[in-house]
């Protein structure tokens, strides 16, 4: 969706705000802590129904309020779309599209897509495996919203199965055995589906990734991805049998997509441990760029690029390289330090003290 207007009510620091966006590049400028990221987060919420900062939805509601509203107007396939999402501190949020309430909020997924770049992306390379699994799964859902159901089914199955393993306390009664067999089957169903989807995604990302790295870092290098899921060889059902005794002893699910790892190597060395900080930043940017391209390719239209304060962490060369190689699509960037070199926004918005005002793009 091409985003045209955004309204916020009681969202984070905003009591109420209205913003307009350019079809190309919109820059949000303002000092740190004034609410630039909150705007990005609100756009991101409409894409995933969650915060890209990884906080629970309650945290998005302005302090002292019960409900936040994010409303966006834009165009998709030649049609005007009005999305209204209500976020509550208790219970489920509601979503309306063109004034029609969706049966499930989840049906919104796919209407508006985003690719988020943020300074925290360095964790994609430096952080633990959970960060990289999330990267894969977010990309999967952005590419194919249907997979969100598989992802949340798997989470739910794991929570149920872990609860059962804990209750068993190492002792397998006939009832526990019969119930565990059911959760095993459910885990296999969701786990195989997610594992297959991730492996296919990694295959699609791999060829795009090295090229993206070359563009960002300005030098040719081999960046490779490996999806480590040892259970996929013999299948998850078999793998579960093999760890049954261990799982019962430890009371936790030990095998499946929730334990897999995405290994990123730079010139055949693990980027997590063997790359310099600068190289790691380039790898992180390349991962985001590759995901953006793969999603664009699959869906036929580019997600909105949200560049949240990324330039503060990049040296001038990398900044310029990133800007030069971003695909031409709707982009919102935020910066506390003025416009990065080479950025030519169609629209500049100044953010200060919970308000947003349009400024002359000529002044920065």
């Amino acid at each position: 969706m091409q985003l045209q207007r955004l309204w916020l009510r009681d969202f984070r620091s905003y009591a109420s705000a209205e913003l307009t966006f350019a079809p190309g590049l919109t820059a949000l400028l303002g000092a740190n802590g004034e609410g630039k990221t909150n705007v990005m987060e609100a756009i991101g919420y409409l894409a995933t129904l969650s915060s890209f900062r990884g906080v629970p939805n309650e945290a998005l509601v302005r302090r002292g309020c019960a409900t936040a509203v994010v409303r966006a107007e834009g165009e998709r396939d030649g049609r005007q779309l009005l999305i209204e999402a209500e976020i509550t501190t208790s219970g489920r949020g509601r979503v309306q599209v063109n004034k029609q309430r969706l049966a499930r909020a989840r049906d919104l997924l796919g209407a508006l897509r985003v690719s988020v770049f943020s300074p925290d992306d360095l964790e994609l390379v430096k952080g633990g495996p959970a960060e990289r699994r999330r990267y894969l799964d977010d990309t999967l859902v952005s590419r194919q919203p249907k997979l969100d159901a598989v992802r949340s089914d798997l989470d739910r199955v794991l929570r149920q199965r872990n609860a059962l393993l804990r209750q068993a306390g190492g002792r397998v009664t006939a009832e526990i055995d019969a119930t565990l067999a059911v959760w095993d089957a459910k885990l296999v169903e969701a786990g195989e589906a997610l594992g297959d989807a991730r492996a296919a995604l990694v295959d699609d990302l791999a060829p795009v990734l090295s090229a993206a790295y070359d563009q960002v870092a300005g030098r040719a290098a081999h960046v490779r991805l490996g999806y480590l899921a040892p259970w996929r060889e013999a299948g998850l059902a078999r793998a579960l049998e093999d760890v049954r005794a261990d799982e019962l002893r430890r009371g936790i699910s030990l095998v499946g997509p929730h334990r897999d790892e995405l290994v990123v190597t730079l010139d055949d060395m693990p980027a997590r441990t063997h790359a310099s900080q600068g190289e790691q930043r380039s790898v992180a940017l390349a991962l985001r760029l590759a995901a953006h391209r793969v999603v664009t390719e699959a869906t036929g239209s580019p997600p909105i690029l949200l560049l949240d304060d990324v330039f503060s962490e990049l040296d001038p060369d990398r900044s310029a390289a990133l800007l030069a190689h971003l695909p031409p699509s709707q982009t919102v960037l935020s910066s506390a330090a003025g416009l990065p070199q080479g950025a030519e926004p169609e629209l500049v918005l100044r953010v200060a003290g919970g308000t947003v005002a349009a400024a002359d793009p000529g002044l920065s």
Binding site: D153, Q160, A163, A178, V182, A185, K186
Partner: protein
């Protein structure tokens, strides 16, 4: 969190035990009740007392009932060979609205959910098994909710019932996944019942 004097805190604690009521809501409801005219508040208390007095669960199918036997179990026109297994009495209302089902029901009173400490022993599974032979049941339709817990419960029951030589069917997919039966419209649920498939 115990902050208020005896009776008020007792009320908050009791309300907080209700499904879907968190500590904050419990507090809000309690203060609402405190402000209410005495007659209005007692009407609520009375409604609870009467319902607990007069309405129980059917001894056969565990639907809500004013006697030992609910209206459906006592209706001679219903087909005794087919039983539709649901999670809650409210699901019976949803299936009845479709007009597609003429058999009897069995209410499990929940679904398998280890997180909530609910296993097969906490559900009315034994009672279902006990009905099969005496009632001459030859088809069991598993009509649990189309969410993870409902699917797991259906699978568990399927594995338990199939070896007994019964026809065991599951309502067709096509219902909003992850939802509850009661949110499905009559047409969709009717189609799901009609398109039920035999478990393998």
């Amino acid at each position: 969190m115990t902050v208020y004097a005896g009776p008020v805190q007792d009320l908050i604690d009791e309300l907080g035990r209700l499904p879907g009521v968190g500590p904050k809501s419990a507090q809000r409801i309690a203060f609402h009740l405190l402000k209410l005219p005495k007659d209005d508040a007692l009407r609520l208390a009375n409604a609870i007392a009467v319902v607990k007095d007069r309405v129980t669960f059917c001894h056969t199918c565990f639907n809500i009932s004013e006697g030992e036997r609910c209206g459906i179990c006592g209706d001679p026109r219903r087909d005794t060979h087919v039983v539709c297994v649901v999670e809650e009495p409210r699901d019976i209302v949803a299936v009845e609205k479709t007009g597609e089902f003429k058999g009897r029901y069995h209410v499990l009173q929940g679904a398998i959910s280890p997180i909530e400490g609910i296993g097969p022993d906490q559900l009315r599974v034994k009672e279902l098994l006990a009905r099969l032979e005496p009632e001459g049941i030859d088809e069991v339709i598993l009509c649990t909710n189309p969410n993870i817990e409902g699917e797991a419960t259906a699978m568990y029951l399927g594995r338990l019932l199939k070896p007994l030589g019964l026809k065991v069917t599951r309502i067709a997919s096509g219902l909003p996944v992850g939802g509850d039966l009661e949110y499905a419209d009559e047409l969709t649920l009717g189609r799901a019942l009609e398109g039920r498939r035999e478990l393998d």
